[in-house]
């Protein structure tokens, strides 16, 4: 009796081991931590990638600061797509990433956006904020989010930052800045072009010239040596990405 139970367990272990080897040899499921602002685009990437390759992608969306804290505490992520370049650099400094496993995967674009499509926003909308009924201007927290930092740079360049300070409301990230603006609680908001495009409402916004702020470089890091993770890392900085990025409001780092 005892022997039979044991043999059952052994068979079980063998089956498990075989299954593990089976997964390892071919398809892998890889965990990818993705910055919230890139989540929708990543869904498209996932479809393309899974159609081409055997591997499966598990997308874990969240704020990059939280992902960072999880990674240094041992989260089982194979790849991390950050909303900025600072956190990937920190991971490299702390030795969680091998040299050369850090790449820019997308460059974000900032727009000044409003729920009301009329009149379309321009540079003047900021310069004449006293006269156009602007009471609240939403942006992402500049200490945390590159879109927020870029927004401050734009206001500083136009010389209106100090005057606008009392009107600023900050979201934890650019998604929240968008929420504030979308619900109309803030009249204008500095948001990501990708967000306005996702709603099909980017025409009324002011597409801020790229030379008004430092590039919003979103970097990724490879955290494991698994074949699936390496394949996705390569895919994300291949030329195949350029049209996907453009369609979703990002600039391709490939040029």
């Amino acid at each position: 009796m005892r022997y039979r139970i044991l043999s059952g367990q052994i068979t079980g272990i063998w089956l498990f081991a075989l299954a593990a080897i089976g997964t390892h040899a071919g398809a892998e499921t890889i965990n990818v931590a993705v910055a919230s602002n890139f989540a929708t685009t990543m869904q498209v990437v996932k479809q393309r990638f899974e159609a081409e390759q055997d591997h499966q992608i598990n997308i874990i969306t969240g704020s990059s600061g939280k992902h960072f804290a999880q990674i240094i505490n041992g989260a089982p992520f194979d790849l991390f797509l950050s909303a900025d370049s600072e956190r990937p650099r920190q991971l490299e400094i702390r030795g969680h990433v091998a040299i050369g496993q850090r790449q820019v995967y997308a460059i974000g674009q900032l727009i000044l956006w409003s729920r009301r499509p009329d009149p379309p926003l321009t540079e003047t909308s900021l310069l004449q904020h006293e006269h156009n009924g602007l009471r609240r201007l939403a942006l992402a927290n500049p200490n945390l989010a590159p879109y927020g930092r870029a927004a401050v740079e734009v206001m500083t360049k136009l010389g209106v930052y100090e005057q606008l300070r009392a009107k600023l409301v900050m979201g934890e990230n650019v998604s929240q800045a968008f929420q504030f603006t979308y619900t109309g609680n803030a009249e204008f908001g500095f948001v990501a072009l990708s967000q306005a495009l996702a709603l099909g409402q980017s025409d009324s916004g002011w597409h801020i010239p790229l030379d008004y702020y430092q590039p919003i470089s979103q970097e990724m890091v490879l955290l494991s040596t698994r074949a699936g993770a390496r394949a996705l890392f390569a895919f994300l900085h291949s030329a195949a990405m350029a049209p996907i990025l453009r369609e979703h409001g990002y600039v391709s780092p490939q040029r």
């Binding site: 939280k66 804290a69 609240r136 939403a138 979201g171 504030f180 609680n185």
Partner: protein, 229 residues
């Protein structure tokens, strides 16, 4: 270590919890009294509504508040037409959110202790000629001391720890809407872990001391009144 902004966040949080608890006591007392006395059918509906914040994620409440406060929402448009400023991204807005969010934590202990008073003492008092207000102030209130203590502590503590609602409708304005939980979150997000530690530790210690004081008082109160806990 800690910056001036962190201390501002700390005092703001105390202020928010204090103001909200006061308002909750004023609102919660008649509401809990009505619930404890009424036998109407609508009672269950009201009880279910009050208990909703216990079940719902705070982000749901925050999201609906954000929509309601917007210029096209029911609260926002009403305020707008009255010429009053919008409540989104303001201290008053946070108080409104906190009152809804912590309502069950105040109403439920009050209701329980009002029910525990029973009809008998009130009927006796009535035969002796005590009016409704007299009965409430001189019988119900003294007999519900522990209920009030529990309500105050739970309401205050729950508001202190509020995060999701503030995150949704606050806008992170120092001195107005940047409360402690948000400041801690920001430090963690900005990788300023040592500041996050200090602030989180401060909140932990403070919360423990408040609860300790309450339970010590509670024990003494029940000992003095001869009631069993």
């Amino acid at each position: 270590m800690l910056e001036a902004a962190d201390f501002t966040a700390f005092t703001l949080t105390l202020k928010l919890a204090g103001v909200s608890t006061l308002i909750l006591l004023c609102l919660g007392t008649p509401l809990a009294w009505w619930l404890s006395q009424t036998r109407t059918r609508g009672k269950s509906v009201v009880e279910a509504l009050i208990a909703l914040p216990l079940v719902l994620p705070p982000t749901v409440l925050g999201f609906y508040l954000l929509l309601a406060l917007s210029p096209t929402g029911p609260i926002g448009s009403t305020l707008n037409s009255l010429g009053l400023p919008s409540l989104a991204f303001s201290f008053a807005g946070l108080v409104l959110g906190s009152v809804i969010y912590s309502l069950p934590f105040v109403v439920q202990p009050l209701q329980t202790s009002f029910v525990a008073v029973g009809r008998r003492p009130l009927e006796v008092a009535a035969t002796l000629g005590a009016g409704p207000l007299d009965r409430f102030l001189n019988i119900v209130l003294p007999m519900s001391k522990l209920g009030y203590l529990t309500a105050i502590v739970l309401g205050f503590a729950h508001t202190m720890g509020e995060f999701g609602v503030v995150l949704m409708i606050g806008g992170n304005i120092p001195g107005q809407t940047q409360v402690l939980s948000i400041a801690i979150y920001d430090h963690v997000e900005a990788l300023e872990y040592s500041q996050a530690h200090w602030l989180a530790g401060l909140l932990l210690l403070f919360s423990f001391l408040v609860l300790l004081a309450v339970y010590t008082l509670n024990k003494r109160a029940s000992f003095l009144s001869g009631a069993r806990p």
